[in-house]
Symmetry: C2
Subunit: 638 residues, 2 copies
């Protein structure tokens, strides 16, 4: 955490100083804004937290509820989401209060007495070390609280406007082309409508999204014919794995059992069987008592005595995905002004624990793109990449979830072996952990021509962090964890053996007129305002001389022109990032997007390719570093 | 973190429900209270946070400042303090914003050109793995903020009463024998005095403590003759170790250099040399410019350009310790009603980074004792152990600090070798890290007769945690980190190979009339309200059958009688706690005090000794578990 560089900070350093629109943000919803977010679920709140980093942008988020969400239905937090929380600054805190999935156990009928169940397999949740982050279970309401805290304490000081429901919108012309009709749902004005105008509107308004309807997108898919009861309960039981995630198969159906945060609560998804033709939703009237009694039957020789019920529901599995995630019809030209995120784009069963996670990644993908366009750093065409990138991910999610749901609903005797379910779970672990996403080459993802220079950082996938040592203070660190969700691009320069190629590259970056850092950083901003450029040396940190480090890695920041010492790293002797991530000893440049996805891998010598890559999706400011303040190549203090 | 067991909690689970005096705590200082704390520094605020766990006790904390401390002088946080923060629930958060000391570097004159300085040694801060917690630097004001948050969100809802200065006190007779005169320092009533009555008063009012004066204690020691300038600054420099803690010796004197939180600020203690006879404090008028210019001289070939000054001061090193820490004169009988903590007891140089840490441990030592006596769990004689235990620690601190200060003030040519200072630093690391404290046998510390059963848990020293796996949820955990600063005693039962002795011990604890758990736990309280009893098995967690675990380790808690699954642990295959801490494979019982110190090590068979140990310092409630509700020995669900 870096602070004090604008002078001494006495209070919580997580509270960033208000700036721009955050200085005098009106409490009431204004008539005009840059971005209107509809819905304060996981996608919407992440988006608000992200856009709060752009204080020149006016962002409002409307929510039809009168206040904070008290109890949410989603609770599965994959490792990719915890990685995302880390970038927003609250991973440790939410981890401390969450249930952590360390193992998943599998139960099936005892072959000698099929009225009983036995444990058939234990599976580590992350046997291959996919991530350094845990797999968690925590209520959606708490996720929203944390994003809300980030949004409220970031420079733009964004808080939700509760009690407004989206009615309709029209996209016209001009500076703020989207006219939105909203209706008050709360207070003395309830029922009254008003219109507001926005540059962009983002519908994060759930599975029954009105924004989706209004822009004419189609939610494609069908209702499956299998019903499930779900309950969050406090209970006393002699089932020994009550604090472990379990898939329980029995003669009486199946349970997906998920312990919850706090050490006592748990959630059971109880199989209610095939839904007959013409049921017409009658299954959804199944009473709680039936679900509890069914759970007891499935648990065989064990008993479950429910003491308190926090929430319960019955649903039939549906799998739907929207054809496109913005308001430009498929095959048409133009840049979008309306987007949809989260459940508005994809609905599916809850049992793979994916929904909230994929929704948040929708928001993370869109947030920096909106912020870049609205701050003049990128052309509007950047916004078309949102639907292009995320629609494919949603389709993959639906496909995975269909397979997992079908497996969960299979009868024990239909499996080839008792371990089949466990094997599927382990074999596909990267997907539900959130790390299978790989974006295709585009204006913001390069071709993987030089992938061999950094085999552990696949182009298009999220940067998998690795241990390093920070040279300035000799503190062990994780390379990726220094990256905050602040909308900046990151360029990691991995040094060659004697760092001579690194120095040439750094000199180019600091002086060449084609240098993206000079071209795209405003003249009056800190050198690292748009690009966060870091160096990683191969040597032990004690062997790197501070005086030899190029100044572009030791930028001067803030009103006092202080040196930032937190951009220079060394490999650890015991866990060498060059070996762990397959980085060429001749060095490499790894470009990472603001949403943590690897955008390019290049040799240190490929300065032209680096310049071209950024030139295709960035816009020069009126006065840039290149025109007014080229950086010298001298050591930090000459 | 455990919650939901009294029903679903939607909001931050760190906020405990208000109870007892916390339900209707008056905003204004009342006339009568159980405990009056004078001063809201580190000792006072820890004490408030600790006593906030006892909602039947009325605790007030007065502070003469009108509000929150904005900038404190102390900043060194030893690993023992971070361990303590962990028990109070904020270790991760304060670590995230602190500077972490990973190495200490040593500089001395270049032998070929003594006007220059060279790095002579690098020392790891914790080369021997003394603790799993880091060594931090963070402003005292933030430490107070975190303790304040704990106090305000704990059941008794304690917040400081700002704007009251301690004037005097008298100890008389009766229920609330201490009459205290206070004076308003702020607002329209400034200057007005009033009296309040308390059972106990704790003076946490600093080096010039009035409470100490009033009870007639003597602060013994002398002013040394060496002066230091200290400054917290933002600066630009080419000194390469500016982000690493350094001891810099030069021809022009020495600097102790300490980087601060936030990545930019640092503190320098600059040697101002011997103070001549008859100086009479004139050295304290040394201007900031002189300190900066002296620092530049000491830095030799490097330059230091100060850009902003957060705080600075000049002081002469003093070493003083108070003869006794309560109001009972040495050699006299009686139980104390007035105590002093922190700087009121011990003052010394700041450079070993000890002051705030030892002060907090004073508070941690006293807090649970006051809480136990005031809730009827212990006799008043327990309170005499506070001064007995802490006065010796203070004396050790003064001795250590004198040695370290003298070394720091030595001229380079006076050292036997350039590494002498580095060697002293490394050899004595356990002391400044806060782990040398070892309490002597007393009513609350047993004789180390059975120390061979658990050689890694020395009786009288703090429990050094070790990795385990929680059996219930298969989650890797640190045994000691489950212990909160909640005033409870902890009994860790390490199982024998087949757990047969463990079962016998558990049956005794659950049924015998001499069982401390039955004798000292009120009949209407949860079974784990006074004693937190845990089991640690030798086997892999997957080999321990839940049905075989004695019910005393799976207590029923809260209004729904839910089972607590977080008290049973297994050794990790890779890091076996039995091997790491030298625990006998025949099992052992390790008793740990509420302030985390090992109170006793016993064989599983020594039930009589265990009963006797607790009987000497605990008081039976009117209706105990032993008289009304002996626990069965059945498995959790029979």
């Amino acid at each position: 955490m870096q602070f004090h560089h604008h002078g001494y900070v006495s209070t919580d350093p997580r509270v960033q100083p208000a700036a721009g629109t955050g200085l005098d943000r009106p409490a009431e919803l204004p008539d005009e804004m840059d971005v209107l977010i509809v819905g304060s679920g996981p996608a919407g709140m992440l988006l608000a937290a992200q856009l709060a980093q752009y204080p020149s942008v006016t962002t409002r988020i409307v929510e039809r509820r009168p206040g904070r969400l008290a109890i949410g239905q989603a609770d599965g937090i994959q490792a990719r989401s915890v990685e995302t929380f880390q970038a927003f600054g609250f991973a440790e805190r939410i981890t401390a209060e969450a249930y952590r999935i360390s193992e998943m156990n599998f139960w099936a009928p005892d072959t000698t007495d099929r009225s009983r169940i036995v444990r058939t397999a234990r599976a580590d949740d992350d046997p291959h070390g996919i991530s350094e982050f845990p797999h968690l279970i925590v209520n959606q309401a708490r996720v929203l609280d944390y994003f809300g805290e980030v949004a409220a304490t970031s420079p733009a000081r964004i808080t939700p406007d509760y009690g407004w429901e989206f009615v309709s919108l029209e996209v016209g012309e001009g500076d703020r082309p989207v006219t939105v009709t909203l209706e008050r749902t709360d207070g003395p004005d309830a029922g009254q409508q008003r219109t507001v105008r926005a540059r962009y509107v983002v519908g994060c308004d759930g599975a029954r999204s009105k924004v989706r309807q209004v822009i004419g997108r189609r939610h494609i898919g069908d209702q499956s014919r299998h019903a499930w009861g779900v309950m969050d309960v406090l209970a006393v039981t002699d089932f020994p794995d009550i604090r472990i995630k379990c898939a329980i198969q029995s003669e009486h159906g199946s349970i997906l059992h998920i312990p919850r945060e706090g050490g006592h609560l748990f959630r059971m998804y109880v199989d209610l069987g095939e839904v007959p033709e013409g049921d017409n939703g009658k299954v959804r009237t199944t009473p709680l008592e039936t679900i509890i009694s069914k759970a007891n039957a499935i648990l065989g020789q064990y008993t479950l005595e429910v003491k308190d019920v926090a929430w319960w529901s019955v649903y039939e599995v549906g799998h739907r995905v929207t054809d496109k995630f913005d308001d430009i019809d498929p095959g048409q030209d133009g840049t979008p002004h309306v987007f949809i995120c989260g459940d508005a784009c994809h609905t599916h069963s809850a049992k793979a624990g994916q929904g909230m996670n994929v929704s948040m990644q929708d928001g993370f993908n869109l947030g920096w793109k909106l912020g870049s366009v609205l701050t003049g750093r990128a052309p509007e065409t950047l916004l078309s990449t949102y639907s292009a990138e995320r629609q494919e991910i949603a389709q993959n999610l639906i496909d995975f979830d269909k397979e997992w749901s079908s497996l969960m609903a299979k009868k024990p005797e239909e499996f080839d072996s008792p371990e089949e379910l466990a094997e599927f779970y382990t074999a596909t672990a990267e997907f539900p952990a959130g790390f299978m996403t790989q974006y295709r080459p585009s204006m913001i993802v390069g071709e993987a021509t030089h992938q061999d220079l950094a085999t552990g950082f696949p182009v298009g996938k999220r940067l998998k962090s690795a241990p390093v040592v920070r040279i300035g203070d000799a503190v062990p660190a994780h390379l990726g964890h220094h990256a905050r969700a602040d909308g900046r691009w990151r360029i990691y320069a991995f040094a060659d053996r004697d760092a001579s190629a690194l120095r040439e590259w750094a000199d180019w970056l600091a002086t060449a007129s084609a240098s993206p850092v000079l071209r795209f950083t405003p003249a009056d901003a800190d050198l690292d305002a748009v690009f966060d450029v870091k160096a990683v040396y191969q040597q032990d940190h004690s062997e790197v001389e501070m005086a030899e480090i190029p100044s572009v890695f030791l930028p001067r920041v803030g009103p006092f022109g202080l040196i930032d010492y937190e951009k220079i790293y060394a490999a650890r002797p015991d866990e060498d990032i060059f070996a762990l991530r397959g980085i060429d000893r001749g060095g490499a440049v790894v470009v990472v997007r603001p949403d943590q996805y690897v955008a390019h891998v290049l040799p240190l010598s490929a300065t032209g390719e680096l310049a071209d890559f950024f030139a295709q999706h960035m816009t020069e400011p009126a006065e840039s570093r290149a025109t007014t303040a080229p950086l010298g190549v001298a050591a930090p203090v000459a």
